[in-house]
């Protein structure tokens, strides 16, 4: 077996183990939340009998270990359980609702795709922007441009997200009505319209994630500029741009890829504030709402998706870093 394939399989295995451990942590953490769904839904005047009835019906009276394994077994088969909040309470009196409208998967799926769409649009804008900015900053290091790029990106990462969002709304939606300030997208919307409505939140997020990637690109490249092979390229009379793009960048890819992956993971898991500001129906809002009403199956599923996104993106970053190393691609 080629060494690269072996490493990739190893990492994949490790990723699965991590995901398993994370699933235990998620389950434990969610169960440690004070109060439960029955109390939350019935309010303060609930009789103990009613609370107990709902708990029994939802299986909350089972010991935690049993519930964990039931949940895990379901999740492995692709069944993330049923949302408590969307459950048809008719079933409590014995009538089968017959529908799977309440399944967590059904509830999360559209939100998840919305989040992926937003993350995708942001990535397409932010990653090239940050990397090119980083390359230019490295090329003109210590110049006015370099300083401006650093200050600009640091300012934007240091400002609260909602503030950036309002500034963008002010300039791009209010003063110059180019883009819609509300991102109320729905199923069946055309791609163009969807893209237009997603653009403002995507730009906000771009401002949030650019600094990290740009500064890492700049640092990783500058780090290499003292290498003998960079000196060699200069002594061969290569232009500064060529020295950086052709000679430094390929060797600086590993750290850059890792930071990009980290920021992409953030785009999938950490954009609640931006979603709220633009009323964007993403998974972040759903997650927060579900925590509020202790809709445990949805919370767990969201957590699992977030964890899987982190693990998968880091795994991809690892693999791409490995592939960017010719020593591994072309063994002796």
């Amino acid at each position: 077996m080629s060494p690269v394939l072996k490493i990739i399989l190893q990492r994949l295995g490790l990723g699965l183990v991590t995901l398993f451990v994370v699933s235990i942590l998620i389950f434990a953490a969610v169960n440690m939340l004070p109060g439960d769904f029955a109390q939350a839904i019935l309010g303060q005047g609930a009789t103990p009998e009613a609370v107990a009835a709902i708990r029994r019906d939802l299986g909350l009276d089972q010991p935690p270990v049993t519930r964990y394994f039931l949940w895990l077994a379901g999740a492995l088969q692709g069944d993330l359980g049923n949302s408590f909040a969307q459950a048809n309470f008719a079933s409590f009196v014995g009538a089968d609702s017959g529908g799977s409208a309440a399944s967590v998967a059904k509830q999360i799926a559209p939100r998840f795709w919305n989040t992926m769409f937003l993350a995708g649009v942001t990535a397409v804008i932010a990653v090239p922007f940050a990397v090119i900015l980083g390359i230019l900053a490295a090329l003109y290091r210590n110049s006015a441009f370099d300083k401006f790029a650093n200050i600009f990106t640091l300012t934007s990462i240091s400002s609260p997200e909602f503030f950036l969002a309002y500034v963008l709304i002010l300039f791009l939606a209010v003063l110059n009505p180019w883009l819609p300030s509300l991102s109320n997208i729905y199923i069946g919307m055309g791609f163009g319209e969807r893209l237009e409505k997603t653009l403002l939140p995507a730009l906000t997020l771009t401002l949030v994630v650019t600094a990290h990637m740009m500064r890492m690109t700049r640092a990783a490249i500058i780090n290499l500029l003292a290498s003998p092979y960079i000196e060699m390229a200069r002594l061969k009379g290569m232009s500064p741009m060529r020295v950086i793009v052709r000679h430094a960048l390929p060797n600086a890819l590993a750290p850059i890829i890792n930071v990009v992956a980290l920021n992409l993971a953030y785009l999938i898991t950490g954009v609640v504030v931006v979603e709220v500001v633009f009323v964007y129906p993403g998974i972040g809002q759903l997650f927060v709402d579900s925590v509020k009403i202790r809709d445990i199956p949805v919370v767990q599923a969201c957590c699992l998706i977030f964890a899987a996104a982190y693990i998968l993106l880091n795994l991809t970053a690892d693999i791409m870093s490995i592939l960017s190393n010719p020593r591994l691609r072309h063994p002796k």
Binding site: Y229, M232, L235, M238, S239, R327
Partner: protein, 548 residues
Amino acid sequence: MSRLLTMTDVWIEGRADEVWNPIINGINLHLDKGEVLGLIGESGAGKSTMGLAAMGFCRDGVRISKGAVDFDGIDLLKASAGRKRALLGKRIAYVAQSAAASFNPAHRIIDQHTEGPVQHSVMSRSESERDAMELYAKLRLPHPEEIGFRYPHQVSGGQLQRAMTAMAMSCRPDLIIFDEPTTALDVTTQIEVLASIRDIVTQFGTAAIYITHDLAVVAQMADRIKVLLRGDEVETAETRTMLSHPKEDYTKSLWAVRDFVRPAKPAVHTSATPVVSVQGVTAAYGKVDVLHEVSFDIHAGRTVAVVGESGSGKSTAARCITGLLPPRAGVIEFDGVVLPADYRKRNKAQLRQAQMIYQMADTALNPRKTIGEIIGRPVQFYMGLRGREKRRRVEELLDQIELPAGQYFERLPSELSGGQKQRIGIARALAAEPKFIICDEVTSALDQLVAEGILKLLARLQDELHLSYMFITHDLATVRSIADEVVVMKDGQVVEQGPKAEMFTPPHHPYTDLLLSSVPEMDPDWLDTLLAERGIDNIGDAAINKID
């Protein structure tokens, strides 16, 4: 012949701690077309800085403060960056000391080779590729048709160095700066590279500045030699004149370095128990055996030199003795007692008896500890001394290595020179009061004069403290000066061993012969004679054998 390069009254400064310090003090240098100038001196003499200045190039934190560099009518110090770039690589090329570090690891060799000609619009990509293969063949690289399509890490050091020479030739420049191109290579590989470089420079009539600290090498390569000392020129002369009649004392002292030879010691009693006895040791990294049934003895108060090319298993043998790499078979005896194979299973007394001195004193000393702490640590750990007693012992050790304790106790390693750092390494080994010390290429990173000082110190300590040394080296001059017995290794096997006198008198094992005859000699005709003896084809064959 017409003048190609003229450097007039060049002053160069380097920046350290916000102050500009002089590196080169007003040196004049000129070079005719097709001429080879040798630039020689110890490290810190400013050779490389001068070589780069000949290209109008300064490293970061270095500046040419005064002077003029005229290359074929173009003032390189006044020319615009674009104008200079058009010359670099095309008319002036550079060959660096470490080809392994100077080839970009991310691109194939041929891609880096053709970059110059294509970017400078000298040849098309396919023309340059074909030309590269011809150059590889001329430089006697094995498989010239395909070697370029490998990545740098897939090619040996000697081959990379030749590929770099080919790359420097790619635009057929008028001038090449060779910056210590063979310093990092084994003697046997060095010959191949030297011969290749000289051939190709002669063939294309390229002028060259050949920078080295090795006199014997420069004697083979240069028409004229310029000696530098701390940024000043000592003297310049034709190679033969310089070798036969050096004028300045410093030049003469450089020449005399190789004369240090210890008197031979009486033979060892056959009944004596050796201090260290390596018996039939076979060791492996992973599944690959790298040592095959290696056996040798080291007796009290004697020095055994272990010689061989890199990869011959010298350092692996040392790792087995210290217990860092438990052997797969065979035993290590110390004073007739078998040592546990793994150092973790040895007790403190056993660990104390075998100490090590490393090649790179730079990396072997903790940069954040003072000299007192570095030496004090083993004093406390092995000898259990504390407080004032510990301090007294450290001062005693500093005394033994000829560094005044009052001055050095509180210093950090970064405040010492290379030779002084290596002395601290010796003191640290002595702190454990061992019987036996492994010296792993302890002088390879040092200049000849400094190295000689270290060798003399080691010899004196051996006499005073009755130490035994295992002296790992690839430098036969060092062997000649310090060894009592010699063990020659190749491919993880001992090919020959015996007293030094025997080893240096024929008949030799063929491999010993190859090693001995590969050591450059001062005679400017040495390389020609040797190549004629061996036949040039043999060198090519040797290179091919290496790759297979």
